[in-house]
């Protein structure tokens, strides 16, 4: 068995770039799911559920924006690029396998999306703050961007929770 590190820190440009790339894929997964959910709403439901429609549309737009912000940071780190078209195709192909069954399932899935993204950025910010490594991008800027994205995710959790409570 191989030794592992038990430090919860980000210690290099390469590791930071990799984590940001994982964020990009995570956003793509969330974006695709929100878009697909939006598409799957029947026409008649769309009229009835304007708030849900707006929520999913906003979620897809927000994820696309987050993805761009993360990609900008990755580019500045001069890390190898990921085959993004492949990721997009993969997410698209796999979506059906884990598609929620009904309308409440769509909302619950969206809640999981937002909570997961929040947890990812929160852990990442902690790990960067715990490290004293020098990155080739400004550490404060990375933390500022990630904090802004994390706060968006927190708002997303609140928004979905509000709609779920209103439906009860």
């Amino acid at each position: 068995m191989v030794a592992v590190s038990v430090d919860q820190r980000v210690d290099s440009d390469h590791q930071l770039a990799r984590l940001l790339q994982i964020g990009v894929v995570l956003e793509e997964v969330v974006e695709a799911r929100a878009y697909r959910h939006y598409q799957s709403l029947a026409e008649e439901d769309r009229d009835l559920e304007a708030d849900v429609e707006a929520l999913l549309e906003d979620a897809a737009e927000e994820s696309a924006r987050h993805r761009e912000q993360l990609e900008e940071l990755v580019d500045e780190l001069d890390a190898e690029s990921i085959p993004f078209e492949d990721v997009e195709a993969l997410v698209e192909a796999r979506y059906g396998r884990t598609k929620p069954e009904d309308f409440d399932g769509v909302l619950y899935d969206q809640l999981c999306n937002e909570e997961t993204a929040y947890k990812f950025y929160d852990d990442l910010i902690d790990a960067i703050e715990a490290s004293d490594a020098a990155f080739s991008v400004d550490r404060e800027r990375v933390i500022a961007v990630l904090t802004e994205i994390r706060d968006d995710e927190a708002e997303g959790v609140e928004e979905v929770t509000r709609i779920m409570e209103a439906r009860e």
């Binding site: 068995m1 191989v2 592992v4 038990v6 590791q15 894929v25």
Partner: protein, 144 residues
């Protein structure tokens, strides 16, 4: 994955490889920490009902500890497979070890939606190869 979960995973794998209680020294070696640190964490796991330590023999996980360890190992498998198959990372073992402390189980579950993982995960994890045997190509004949 938090530190406790990394210890549970390490104890689980040592127990499986050695087919018995895991010696503290072996656990410490596999995590690259001092025996004193390993001892301290094993004591904490015992207090939380996740492990039992028997003098001169070593540490064994309780049923709850095993369940937590299997979940942690699954998370590790997801990270390895995600790096290897989605991001085409050649050094996926090394990178997974670096990333596992930062990637939470809930995040791994989302990444899991776009990878292929065998039903028997994490039983197919090969501790010597430090990867799922399907990924490492070390599965015994007849098991795939």
């Amino acid at each position: 994955m938090n530190t406790a979960n990394q210890y549970l995973k390490a104890i689980y794998l040592v127990q499986r490889t050695d087919d018995g209680p895991a010696a503290t020294g072996r656990v410490a070696d596999s995590l690259d920490v001092s025996p004193a640190s390993a001892n301290e964490m094993i004591g904490k796991l015992e207090e939380r009902g996740l492990a039992e330590h028997e003098k001169y023999k070593g540490v064994s996980l309780t049923d709850e500890g095993i369940a937590r360890a299997e979940s942690a190992l699954q998370t590790y498998c997801i990270i390895e497979r995600f790096l290897a198959n989605v991001l085409s990372v050649e050094e996926f073992r090394e990178e997974a070890r670096q990333l596992e402390s930062v990637i939470d189980e809930t995040v791994a579950d989302r990444l899991d939606t776009i990878i292929d993982r065998a039903e028997e995960c994490p039983d197919c994890f090969d501790a010597e190869a430090d990867a799922c045997c399907y990924l490492a190509g070390t599965c015994e004949q007849g098991s795939d």
